[in-house]
Symmetry: C2
Subunit: 398 residues, 2 copies
Amino acid sequence: MTRSNPYAGNVSDLLSRVDNFAVIESTLREGEQFANAFFDTEKKIEIAKALDEFGVEYIELTSPAASEQSRSDCKAICQLGLKAKILTHVRCHMDDAKLAIDTGVDGLDVVIGTSSFLRKFSHGKDMDYITQQAIEVVSYIISTGLEVRFSSEDSFRSDLVDLLNIYTTVDKLGVNRVGIADTVGCANPRQVYELVRTLRGVVSCDIECHFHDDTGCAIANAYAALEAGATHIDTSVLGIGERNGITPLGGLCARMYVANKEYIMGKYKLHMLRDIENLVAEAVDIQVPFNNYITGYCAFTHKAGIHAKAILNNPSTYEILQPEDFGMTRYVSIGHRLTGWNAVKNRVTQLGLNLSDDQVKQVTAQIKALADIRPQGIENVDALLRQFHEKVTKQTAN
Amino acid sequence: MTRSNPYAGNVSDLLSRVDNFAVIESTLREGEQFANAFFDTEKKIEIAKALDEFGVEYIELTSPAASEQSRSDCKAICQLGLKAKILTHVRCHMDDAKLAIDTGVDGLDVVIGTSSFLRKFSHGKDMDYITQQAIEVVSYIISTGLEVRFSSEDSFRSDLVDLLNIYTTVDKLGVNRVGIADTVGCANPRQVYELVRTLRGVVSCDIECHFHDDTGCAIANAYAALEAGATHIDTSVLGIGERNGITPLGGLCARMYVANKEYIMGKYKLHMLRDIENLVAEAVDIQVPFNNYITGYCAFTHKAGIHAKAILNNPSTYEILQPEDFGMTRYVSIGHRLTGWNAVKNRVTQLGLNLSDDQVKQVTAQIKALADIRPQGIENVDALLRQFHEKVTKQTAN
């Protein structure tokens, strides 16, 4: 859609990667930082296999430096022979990097805090030290032939000059990707667009982005980043992660489906989303939110009379996502006070009853009156419609 | 924050209303279109009073044309004498408008579908007809002295020229606000910014925006709209509405708090958010999502060792929202395999135990080993720390 203008529109649209990006699925790294999360080896393997079958390009795992089990799980997943590339996320330390390389991963996601907050209250290092550390660790990983990403942490509260300097340095070393991370969830889409677009002009390597959702922009920020030329987006199933989490895999699919449906449907098995979400929700003992993207139980429920009428004529009127593309179904609710006679008429037809428009309007008023007292299930509505039909048929016969 | 540049930055920033906007709270209108929702009179009044006390500027109610009870509830809420202005949301019909005016509302939110989809599959009217209808209904409402908003539906799939024509027409009539609605949830923030900014240059009245969340941009779009000069944002509690809903009140507060904390804290009683969300969640029989903005149970839980350490030094390192401003508390989780010795050291100090850094590192390794098998509750961790302390104290004593 961004390129539909025959005059090519804004030249910056040419940078857009909304139809050419990869997902770095971090349920087994960021997701392990979710309050409830504890994955044993078996569950990690089950999740990794499901994500691989779904079609994600990368699977990111907890650092092998975190614990002995983390290290052996990392090895086990590397040996599964998945299509997805396996990454692990490590601090910018030689010890961690070496431990990671020994697990057999395809690549390392290296991270260090660059904001004044993190420099002061976390690791206590200055930019010169960080740069030296980055050069040492990144060069070493490159020398092993593995893929490497170098990311700052809390990038949106880091000094822009510091950021561009260090990214330029690692880009020249031959890093595969540089990463921008909104670690605290403070960034907004226009800000993301500006930062990524600036960075796009400075480095030649790929650009990965990681967005927390504390202030509700994790999906929109991912989209803005892709519009500005980012190439990789971090996700987790249901968005689980530190605090309230990051860009959810399903929500990102919903957004990107609107940008380029064929592209997303071609690369991911979207009908697997619901099962993968249920798998992870069960593993970390949470309920899938009522309003979850695509798979939330009301995502395709239409209620207001005016909506119901149009949906029955043409679902695209009030649906930007087609439920059948995700293995879901549409539901038009009619037993409530907001119902409309067109929706009721549709049900009348489904039941094989024969009523005039005026008669449908009469019975709709009866449904509304009943539903003003309490909502009516479809069985009640159907019974009412049948009774009404019987009554008017008898009257006509008399 | 948008105005922090002393050279005033981009001239378009002067349009920004991120620190000067009003909320139109639509839980009792859009929220009634949520699959589960059925509010009786008593519950509507309870919700309206709570929202009023919270500080929302407007409360929007279901059209009195929907059902007899909707009409009498509308009257009842108008008679409560709330500080918030009471609006009702009606189709662009004289009959509906007259019915609404008789309820005693402060204003009417008038809506009509302008997209080709809605014109073809919903009401079947052309733009000339829509314009005539708008002129008649809007002029009539203005003549009664009530506040009036005229909104298109599905604005982002409507013809731009059609939209600007009809908005210009009603602006000249003296409408209070024009409305943009992303009825299907397809819009993205940069698109919203462009449309609102264009509209801002065309009409002199206020601009209201309504965003559905099907593709995860409802909060970010609201923010982009305010940056572009929109003045009013529609919300509902927990975002409840048609399908997976609209911009949530709590999520919008989180976003706007980051833009201008003093402004948001000055106008809304943020510590009421949790109670209001629980009230609505109970009324419509849903659970507050695990990852809900601000009030989700893990919104302020910190887990990874590196996060925990920095948070204990300075919460702003990994928190953009301060939990105490919302009546919430922070929790640093330590009984898991991602824990770090700095977080453990903090707990050791809280318990009044005396251990050297090396000893804390030893006991941290023990916690990690246990937590590799299963996560440890705080009671277990505390018991382990006390045992360890006793043991090393005895050793020192010997």
